[in-house]
Every structure is written in structure tokens, then in C-alpha cells.
């Protein structure tokens, strides 16, 4: 069955048409082409109209000002990786994703808007306090990542809206780590991931952030726990490591599935965070 396709000439055309039908938005297609496949050699089974937005100029490019980096949604993961202003920790997550040819096609907007549990940029964007700008024909709104992502494949995107750009606050992170656990080194989906940053100045922990990915249906970040060791001396923070680990343990609700077990995911995530804390606090 062939479905209606729409190829807009610009963003205005796109937003004008978007509310008129129940469109699949098609950017890089690296997720959609798999989800809609049938059998070997068969055409993809699109049952809803498709709108192709990948080549819209307004949805490509990366800009910045003094405070923020603005990544348009159809930038490929490679475009994001190669931009010098993009935070190191986001690059560390991107380079673990898929393989070079997929990273040439897959978009940052696709990774965010799909809201897959295993989307590797999601926990990092939570950690970076990123926001998303959503646009429709008559409205523009900005949402925090943690509010936009509602659960596994669930977002706050409304009918007639698209993800216009991801907005990341500029900030230096002295120590940063993205640790992904998968079945193999390359071209793998996460069993779990742990993203951490820490800033230490004059023996005081100025900032500390943690996000867990691919464990719960939604990436985990908790500022309340992070603040337990912020503004503490390094030695005080060291004394609080087990308090912090226990509090994170209570937030983890992993599943048993084809990639891993609940127990492995939760225990491994806590061990990785433990290692990060020990090393980060001992480094200074």
C-alpha cells in the first residue's frame, strides 16, 4: 500500500501542512526505516502519511551565543560530533552510537523525539540541562528535556508540532565521563549508560551531575541527590559517597529484557558511579 508523502519546500510550508494530517516526520530515517520494515526485500510498511524534513535548511546548522548552543533538529550525529562548541560529554556519547555511516544519517532530533529508552544522547542532554524548542504553525514553546520526555517513546510533542532545535547551556565541565555498557564495543545498543560531570575548585565540589540511561523508561537525573555533595569539601564529599550511591539505588527500576537483566543494569550502574566518584574526588 502506498501512502501519501509530503516534501515541504521550507519550514513555513512544513508547519502549514503538519496540522492537516497525522504525519510521520521523517528525518534521517535510521529508526523509522527499521520499525516499518516487513520482510527481506519488501518495501517499508508506512500506514500513515509521511513528511520528509531532513533537507529543510531551517532545520540544519548549529549556532551559538554567549550562553547557549542551538542545535537544529536535523543535524546528523556526525555534524554534532564535529562541532567544536558541542560539550565533550555529548560527543563522548555520540561516538559510542551505531557506526560511521549511521551517524552520517541519524539526527539529534530523531534521537530526542523518538524518546527510545536506549537513546544515548538523552541522559547526556538531561545532565546538560538542555531544552527543546518546539514549533507549530502559530506557536513556539520551549520545554526542559526532562519535561519533554515523558517515558519510553512518549514525549510532550503535540499534533502539528515539530522539534525545531535542542538548546544547550554553555558551561565548562572539568571532569566528564560517559560510560556505556553494551554487548560489544561498536555498533551496539546500551544495556545501560552512566553520564557524570564534576567541577572542583579550591578543594570544594562546585558542581556534580549524574544521569543514568537505558535503565528506567526515562533517563534518570536528580538534582536533590547531586546537591548532597555540592559545596562540600573533597574530603566531606568522599565521606558521602555511600549515601549518594544508596539514594541513586532507590531510583533505579531496570527491566529484564533481551539486552540485559534488571540486576545487572542496576548493580553495574551503581558500580560505575562509585568508580567515577572515587576517581574524581581522589584526583584533586
Amino acid at each position: 500500500m502506498e501512502v501519501k508523502s509530503y516534501i515541504p519546500i521550507d519550514l513555513e510550508d512544513c508547519l502549514g501542512e503538519l496540522g492537516n494530517d497525522n504525519y510521520w516526520l521523517f528525518a534521517g530515517g535510521t529508526d523509522l526505516m527499521i520499525r516499518k520494515r516487513q520482510w527481506h526485500g519488501a518495501s517499508r510498511k508506512f500506514v500513515k502519511p509521511v513528511m520528509f524534513i531532513n533537507d529543510l535548511k531551517e532545520l540544519n546548522g548549529i549556532e551559538s551565543d554567549d550562553d547557549y548552543i542551538y542545535i537544529k533538529s536535523c543535524n546528523s550525529l556526525r555534524d554534532v560530533y564535529e562541532n567544536p562548541e558541542v560539550p565533550e560529554i555529548l560527543k563522548k556519547s555520540i561516538i559510542t552510537m551505531a557506526n560511521p555511516s549511521i551517524r552520517n544519517m541519524a539526527t539529534i532530533g530523531g534521537n530526542v523525539a523518538n524518546a527510545a529508552k536506549v537513546g544515548d544522547t538523552l541522559p547526556v542532554l538531561f545532565l546538560l540541562d538542555a531544552r527543546v524548542e518546539l514549533r507549530s504553525k502559530n506557536e513556539k514553546r520551549i520545554r526542559k528535556m526532562s519535561d519533554f520526555i515523558k517515558g519510553k517513546y512518549q514525549t510532550d510533542l503535540r499534533k502539528g508540532e515539530l522539534l525545531y532545535q535542542v538548546i544547550i547551556p554553555k558551561k565548562e565541565y572539568d571532569i566528564n565521563m560517559f560510560y556505556k555498557v553494551g554487548s560489544r564495543h561498536g555498533d551496539t545498543l546500551s544495556k545501560l549508560s552512566v553520564s557524570c560531570t564534576m567541577n572542583i575548585e579550591n578543594n570544594i565540589v562546585n558542581d556534580f551531575r549524574v544521569a543514568f540511561g537505558a535503565i528506567n523508561n526515562k533517563s534518570i537525573r536528580d538534582r536533590y541527590i547531586e546537591e548532597k555533595i555540592i559545596n562540600k569539601s573533597v574530603s566531606e564529599a568522599e565521606g558521602l559517597i555511600y549515601t549518594v550511591l544508596n539514594e541513586y539505588q532507590d531510583l533505579l527500576y531496570g527491566d529484564n529484557d533481551k539486552r540485559s537483566t534488571k540486576r545487572y543494569r542496576e548493580e553495574t550502574a551503581i558500580k560505575i558511579l562509585h568508580k567515577f566518584l572515587k576517581e574524581a574526588l581522589n584526583e584533586k
Partner: protein, 165 residues
Amino acid sequence: MQIEIKFNLNGEDVSIITDPVRRLLDVLREDFKLTGVKEGCSEGECGACVVFINDILVNSCMVPMANVINKRVMSIEGFKKTKEFEVIEKGFLEAGAVQCGFCTPGMIMATENLLKNISNPSVEEIKEGLSGNICRCTGYQTIIEAVQLSVKEGGGLWKSNLTSL
């Protein structure tokens, strides 16, 4: 839904009336009879279907025809006419890096992509560069050697020295 889609294929302007959601892989194999482009996994992991679109390596099994409009597509059949292909082909032959041959067109395209970006890659960089290509015969060691031989044979054919793939 059928529309006219114009693009450049291996240096020649072409047009085709087809469904925009149809895969580039199917159009290349069925309409243009370019069977060097293979269907392996159908989900972007095996690399048997890779082509260059506007000089960027992509999996043609994931590309709908709508994303090809007015672009330059180069398959292994087009790449075969280049000096770079001759060097890589020689590298693969000398290293004995071809067994059943199914993955070979994709491996060669991925090698070109790698050397275009990192002209003298380390073994780790070769592994990363070819991480999207699977050899079912598991002849990876000879494929790595083929890339190294290509670098040696190329004598500076690939000059760029970017740091990512």
C-alpha cells in the same frame, strides 16, 4: 504515491518515477541493475549496501528516495572508475581479503570513506572506520591488512587528516 525524482547517479543525471518512501537500495538494484549494492541486514548494521550521497557514506537500505532528490549518489559501480578504487582493489587482492565477496563492495566503500577522512589510520581507527561493515566469513584480519596495504600503495593519494569518520 508516485513522483518524479531527479538525482545524479555515478556522474550521470537520471530521473525516475517512484514512491518517495521507496528505498534507494531497491531503486539501485531493481531499476538501475546496480547489483554491487547488496542487501544484508536491512537495518544499517552490515554495511553491504553503503553508497556515497554527496560524498557522505550512508546505508542505502535506510535512505528513502525522497532524501535523494537533487543529490549525487555514488555506488561501487561509480567508484570503480576512480584511481582510489584501483589502489584499494589491489590492497584487497594482495591481502587475500575477499572470501565469499558479499561484503567486499561495502568494505571497499567504507575503506574509501575512512582514508578520505584519516589518510594514515591506526589499526584502532581502521576497526572504527569499518565498524559498520560485517564480514560473515570473519576475514577481518586480512581486511585490516588490505586497508594498510592500500595506504602504502596509495602513496599520498588520500591527503586529508581529519580526526573523525
